[in-house]
């Protein structure tokens, strides 16, 4: 075989190989985009309906059969961690003080927050010309390991914020 024929044969072989490679369909290419799009849709769909306010709050409430808790109200989760009492709210604000604290100054941030919530509720009542006993009520989810002495600052804060109606959250187990 002379050089010319050899050359023709080599580049034609290469050409066939390139043609074969380019003819293989890349099946995976739409999937990263599709997975990303579907993840965004699912996350957006769940976040739009609001997250459970109890997520992230290490509060184990007492299991007790009681009146069903309606949605709404000023939710406070109270638990103990590292010898401090932590209070977490439904909008993820956190307050804390030492377990044996008796200094009223430590409760001022919580009192300010509660006053702000009652003010928002009052404004909403005026604008809507309708008030709801449920939304103006405080719901306290107390961890089972706490004692009553840890609860007193919370009740004091509610009283200072002019919230007279409150309740303790329980877990209904069928």
């Amino acid at each position: 075989m002379n050089n010319k024929q050899l050359f023709a044969e080599n580049w034609q072989t290469c050409l066939f190989r390139i043609k074969d490679r380019l003819e293989i369909p890349i099946q995976w290419y739409p999937f990263p985009a599709m997975i990303g799009f579907m993840l965004v849709m699912i996350l957006g769909g769940h976040l739009l309906t609001d997250l459970n306010p109890r997520l992230g709050a290490r509060v184990q409430v007492i299991p007790l059969e009681s009146d069903r808790l309606p949605d709404g109200g000023i939710w406070l989760g109270v638990y103990e961690k590292d010898e401090e009492i932590h209070v977490i709210t439904s909008d993820r604000k956190k307050f804390s003080w030492a377990q044996n604290s008796v200094d009223i100054e430590n409760f001022e941030p919580l009192i300010r927050y509660l006053k702000l919530k009652t003010l928002e509720e009052a404004e909403s009542t005026v604008i809507k010309m309708k008030s709801s006993a449920i939304t103006s009520r405080a719901v306290i989810a107390v961890d089972q390991h706490l004692k009553y002495v840890h609860l007193r600052p919370i009740l004091y804060s509610l009283a200072k914020a002019n919230i007279s109606r409150y309740g303790f959250e329980t877990r209904i187990i069928n």
């Binding site: 109890r54 808790l69 009553y148």
Partner: protein, 187 residues
């Protein structure tokens, strides 16, 4: 086309046929759908709450005079804390109950207070309710004091909160108490 090129073409076509991965696509689609469904369930499970209840309580308000002729004033249902309001004190060993006067003005007297001891360290709520019922009935018939439906519960500081909440729930379930006020202690 030479014989070798034809052969190579046939070889590559055979290779392509043998490496046919057309079934990859349905597998990948099914796996993606399965992943989305699993993620959806997991996210929903973490974001959805279980069933929750509420045990309500009240903080008393200072009464102020208001216009009796207005419609708003007439529709507000109020209960007043009086000297005859029942008070239940929860200590580590027992319940002590009486009226408010027995824990304030006449605190030294022993005859105006009653106690129900805990059983094996656990509060005896059933007997407490029964004794309170007898006491309320007795004072209604003797002194004509009617029960308003208001009670004051004063737990000691070291009582665990689940016991406090259960006590409130039991008192409200007894039908003698419509509202319970939690007190922080005596001064």
């Amino acid at each position: 086309m030479t014989a070798s090129m034809t052969l190579q073409s046939k070889i590559s076509k055979t290779k392509k046929r043998l490496s046919d991965t057309s079934w990859y696509l349905p597998i990948i689609i099914l796996a993606s759908i399965g992943l989305m469904v699993t993620l959806s369930f997991l996210l929903r499970a973490t974001s959805m709450a279980g069933k929750y209840g509420i045990v309500t309580s009240e903080i008393p308000l200072v009464s102020v005079p208001f216009d009796q002729s207005s419609e708003v004033g007439n529709t507000i249902n109020t209960l007043t804390v009086e000297t005859t309001t029942p008070v239940i004190v929860l200590t580590k060993n027992r319940f002590i109950f009486g009226d408010l006067d027995a824990f304030t003005t006449n605190i030294d007297s022993l005859r105006n207070k009653f106690s129900v001891s805990h059983v094996d360290g656990a509060p005896d709520l059933l007997n407490l309710i029964k004794d309170i019922e007898k006491w309320l009935f007795g004072r209604a018939s003797r002194s004509n004091i009617s029960s308003q439906g208001l009670g004051i519960l004063i737990p000691q500081g070291e009582i665990p909160t689940p016991i406090v909440i259960q006590t409130i729930q039991s008192l409200k379930a007894s039908k003698h108490f419509e509202k319970i006020v939690l007190g922080s202690g005596f001064q």
